[in-house]
Amino acid sequence: MNVIERIMSFIKKFFNKQEEIKMIEAPERVTNIKEKEDFFSSIKVFRPIQIENNEIETLICIGDGLGIQKDMKY
């Protein structure tokens, strides 16, 4: 990259300065810490992580919920 290109790049960055990323804040009226944590949890987006072969693989059967239902409890 020559000197002129570097100068142009600097000028572009200077004039096209991006806004800072602002974090979502809990509503002001929420003062309780637990409520704040609940609020943050409620806006989290969970994306299933595709991890290869980390669980017992079974047949999927809607008929009896095999492979769909949560594991049996006692």
Binding site: F46, P48, Q50, E52, N53, N54, E55, I56, E57, T58, L59, I60, C61, I62, G63, D64, G65, L66, G67, I68, Q69, K70, D71, M72, K73, Y74
Partner: protein
């Protein structure tokens, strides 16, 4: 009959065969029935099916030659019973043997089917099983008792039950076996039990008796066997609608009305109407609730908490979500289920099951013992996955000796007790295959473990020995095969072969939604 006609008969379908035989002149028909008994047996041709459709004159002509035909007494009685009414009236029965006379006197409906009569001497029906079809769902207790006597005499008579306006066929002997089992459950419920307690006992008994049809979704699946009420009980296998039908029938016996509802995932289960449920806070709620007997099968079989027992629609929809957050929509039906607003919370469910002896004083279900044993095995064999696996199988077989024949329930239980990390697994698969030598392609549960420590191991649930049997990889692959439908879902790659995983799990659910299960 010349070889050309025989060839044509062999090639025709059943209706075609019967039509061809009815077209023969009476003498030739008599010769055919006498000389080709093996052929008739192989092709399931009953002589009466030919003669009942002959016109009156030809029936009379055939009767004059009946004694010259080499037919069994039952075959002759079937022919006599299915004669046209005008032909029957023309016969003088005074000098006929009693077996013939009674056969002629039995009234039949259009098509030759016998009109079943409770006040007839059932001995007169003996041997006429093929001509009798009865729908006994709404019989009174007295009628049921009397009908059981009939079942001993005509064990192969057809017994119909209905499901969504379709009739499904069980045999009389299956009816008897089913009814005896139902009576053994209901008659042993203490009369002082509340409605909810009785429902709990029945749902548990069904889970202990029936398992989901393990060939469901494969080329070996035969829907009619999995939806016929008494056949499901007798065989011990049913699909969702079939199991729901059994539970609906049994609940009706204790005065609980219900409706079989289908979810968007083509899954059938029950909405119980106007039932009373006791809550842990001492209150009682009354209204409609959801009970999914098939989703409870494995839980009941292995003593787990039946978390599809008397739940609200909201809870049922929560249960539809997979661990990946995918909605199976198995119970989605807003129109039918918006009024299913009452249900048991977990504590109330535990209390109810404690009150009938299906959970301990603390509300814990028997599965606890198996899980604790499994945890101990994990500790004991932490460095030896293969031994760990063998001992897990042993614990499972002790908890459920019939595990090899309740395949789907067993697969659910294996998901609980096999621990991926404890087995040091690269991969662990619990699924179904069939023995290549089995023409019926019955399902066999297998476990394939690829462990970082012990390498690849193959086990299958052996029905003969009641144990999990280990086989070397080559022997396992030579002996067993995956179902075509399972292979299709997995892109032609067998479970023990390398394949991408999560994508298949998701697409597999999508595939099943379109099928009636």
């Amino acid at each position: 009959m010349d070889s050309q006609k025989m060839q044509a008969l062999s090639k025709a379908n059943q209706e075609g065969r019967l039509a061809m035989l009815r077209a023969l002149d009476v003498e030739e028909l008599g010769e055919f029935l006498t000389n080709h008994r093996e052929f008739c047996k192989e092709q399931n041709i009953h002589p009466f099916e030919i003669t009942k459709a002959l016109d009156s004159e030809r029936q009379k002509e055939f009767l004059s030659k009946l004694e010259q035909c080499n037919l069994t007494l039952n075959e002759k009685r079937e022919i006599l019973t299915t004669l046209r009414p005008e032909v029957k009236q023309s016969i003088d029965i005074t000098n006929l043997p009693k077996e013939y006379a009674t056969a002629i006197q039995i009234p039949t409906k259009y098509g030759g089917q016998i009109e079943f009569e409770f006040d007839r001497d059932f001995e007169e029906y003996r041997g006429l099983d093929n001509l009798i079809t009865v729908s006994p769902e709404d019989f009174t207790p007295e009628q049921r008792k009397r009908f059981m006597e009939f079942c001993d005499i005509c064990p192969n008579a057809e017994v119909l039950s209905s499901l969504k306006d379709v009739a499904y066929s069980s045999s009389a002997i299956e009816y008897k076996e089913g009814e005896e089992w139902i009576a053994s459950v209901i008659d042993n419920i203490p009369s002082a039990y509340s409605q909810a307690q009785k429902i709990a006992i029945i749902d548990n008994a069904i889970g202990k008796k029936i398992s989901h049809t393990p060939t469901d979704g494969t080329e070996a699946f035969e829907p009619k066997n999995s939806k016929a009420l008494w056949k499901v009980i007798s065989n011990g296998y049913g699909v969702c609608n079939g199991v729901a039908k059994v539970e609906q029938y049994m609940l009706k016996r204790i005065g609980v009305e219900s409706e079989i509802v289908s979810g968007h995932g083509h899954h059938g289960f029950l909405k119980l109407i106007d039932v009373e449920l006791p809550l842990a806070n001492g209150e009682t709620v009354k209204g409609n609730t959801i009970l999914d007997p098939t989703w409870n099968l494995a839980r009941q079989r292995f003593g787990g908490m039946p978390d599809n027992f008397c739940i609200t629609y909201e809870q049922a929809r929560k249960n539809d979500l997979t661990s990946l957050g995918l909605d199976s929509q198995a119970h989605k039906n807003d129109e039918k289920l918006q009024d299913a607003t009452i249900g048991l919370d977990e504590q109330s469910l535990r209390n109810l099951h404690t009150s009938v002896g299906l959970a301990d004083k603390e509300g814990m279900f028997p599965l606890k013992n198996l899980v604790e044993k499994s945890d101990t095995i994990n500790e004991m064999y932490a460095d030896n996955p293969e031994e760990n696996l063998k001992h897990q199988f042993l614990a499972l077989s002790q908890a459920c000796p019939e595990f090899a024949t309740c395949q789907n329930s067993t697969m659910s239980a294996l998901r609980i007790i096999l621990d991926f990390d404890e087995l040091k697994a690269n991969r662990c698969v619990v699924n179904r295959v069939y023995d290549k030598t089995d023409k019926d392609k019955n399902a066999v549960v297998y476990v394939y473990l690829d462990s970082k420590v012990s390498g690849k191991s193959f086990f299958f649930a052996d029905k003969d020995t009641g144990q999990f049997v280990q086989l070397p990889q080559e022997e396992f692959i030579n002996r067993f095969e995956c179902y075509e439908k399972d292979l299709e879902k997995l892109g032609g790659i067998r479970s023990w072969e390398d394949r991408p995983k999560e994508k298949d799990r998701l697409s597999s659910i999508e595939d099943q939604k379109g099928e009636e299960i």
